[in-house]
Structures are given as C-alpha cells and as structure tokens.
Symmetry: C2
Subunit: 132 residues, 2 copies
Amino acid sequence: MSSRRRTEAQTQLLDLLRRESTALSHDDISAKLPTDINRVTIYRILNRFVADGLAHRIVADDGRQYFASCADGCAHDTAAHGHLHFRCLVCDRVECLPEQVAFSLPEGYRVENYNVTLSGTCNSCSALAEAN
Amino acid sequence: MSSRRRTEAQTQLLDLLRRESTALSHDDISAKLPTDINRVTIYRILNRFVADGLAHRIVADDGRQYFASCADGCAHDTAAHGHLHFRCLVCDRVECLPEQVAFSLPEGYRVENYNVTLSGTCNSCSALAEAN
DNA sequence: AAATTTATAGCAACAATGTTGCATTAACGA
DNA sequence: TCGTTAATGCAACATTGTTGCTATAAATTT
Ligand SMILES: [Zn+2]
Ligand SMILES: [Zn+2]
Ligand SMILES: [Zn+2]
Ligand SMILES: [Zn+2]
C-alpha cells in the first residue's frame, strides 16, 4: 500500500472531526474548517480516513453521509460501528450514541457494515420543547 | 385530506411492490413495471404510498431509497418498521427481515423513524460462494 | 350523459450530493 | 537537491430525487 503524506488539509480535517462531538456532513465540515479546502479534496480525504479506520461513515436516513472520528472507544473493526446513530429532525445533528444494537440474523448472512440510524427529537431539543 | 383516485399507474406499482419479496429501488421498479411510467410519477406515487402507510421507505447505506409493501405483518405505526434491512453487496438486493432490533436509548430521545440497514453477503449469495 | 372539480400524470428544469479524469503542487525519501 | 508520486484543485460528469407548470382523466355533481 502506498503510504500517506501529512498535509495541512488532512490535519485540519482530522482535528475538526476529533474536536466535534457530533458526526458531520460534508456541509458541516466545509463550514467549520478554518481554511477553504476544495470540495473534492474533502470528499477524498474523508474516504481515505474511512479506509484507514480514522473515521467512520454514517449514511443517515436523509440519504447523506456523515463522518465521525473513530478516536474514542470505537475500535476499527466493523462490529464496533454497530453503535447507534441518532439524527435529530429539529436541530439536524447526527450523533454517535454509545449503545450497541442487538439483533439476530438468519443463518447464512454475513455482515460487513452496520448502519443504524434512528431519527426523531434529540434530548436537548425535547428538553427545549418541554420548556415551552 | 383530499381523497386518492384509483389510477392505472398506482395499481401497477402497488401490485408490483406486493408481488416482490425484496424492497425495490426506483430503478428496480422502473425495470419491472409492465408499462412505462414517468420517473417523477413513480417517485410521487411512492411518496404517497409511504404517507398512506401502504409502503415503507428504507434509506440504505448506499444512500438510495428502497420501497417495500407494508402488506404482510408490518403494521403501519412507526415502531413496526424497526425491523431489520439487509443489503447484499453481491446481488445488490435489499431485504426486509422480520427480526426486530433491540436497543436502549438515553433519556429524552424521541424516535420517529427507524432505519436499520446491515450490508454484507446474503444467505443465497454466501451459499453460492460456499459451493465454489 | 354532460359538465365540473381537482387529483394525478407527464415534461422540463432544477437541486443536492458525491465521483472521475487530468493537470498541478508539494510531501518525503534517496 | 532531486525525483517520485501522493495529494490537491478544477472542470465536468453521474446519480438520485424534487418542484413548477400544464395536460389528462377519475370521481362527483348537475
Ligand atoms: Zn436536536
Ligand atoms: Zn458513529
Ligand atoms: Zn445476495
Ligand atoms: Zn422493511
């Protein structure tokens, strides 16, 4: 395998993902990056991060990709990404939740990727709603 | 609410969804329909079916929408769609599996939609692989 | 049966998201 | 310092799904 090079763009992107507590869409990332990085470059860096196990990709129920750092407690094997994702329909944020999903699967199925996304109202948004 | 009208296009589409054992993408549907129906019309009919509880929408981890009839045993409330979906990376089919997913959610989260998709190799494709 | 109403269909154009090809730049090792 | 090639940036494209508008036709009323 060809080895990776340390570039400014990648450093910024990885720092961003690690700093954020929620999973980020491409748009989120573009908006939050300190420097302008080309659209395509961002996509390519993200794909590389996923391939290298630095981040994982969530395809949410809005059909868009979100990316989250794999740093904390989420080991790089597939099964570790079986954790839950929650997309809030109010604040439009996607969170990685630590809870694992349990299920049984009929004989003969071999799982390679997990993509579990619930959507609804997140805890902070329901708290806000209660307050009114 | 304005009442629905019985049209040829809708009948064909609903028949197709009910006849099929797997969830269908737009392309699948286009290809399998006995008559040519306009792209946009298909999308609109599908959205109506989902709104009316005749079908449910799955957003798979390829970012595309798949549709399955709600006829058999899948009641029309949200929770009933908590069943598992499996997308086979070999034969590219999406199945509704009857098994429910179990998970716990932190306090304060309110779920409106479930979207659980595993991907990998389905039972028939792994059987074929074994045979070789 | 004819006229009326309006849900549905069809066409064109658009929007959003992500990828590929290719030339240029720059990281890194020799 | 030089050469190799990974990474970037630009343009163009691909795919998937939606919206606006007009035409058609299903259902209801006259
Ligand atoms: Zn929220
Ligand atoms: Zn996650
Ligand atoms: Zn298969
Ligand atoms: Zn299903």
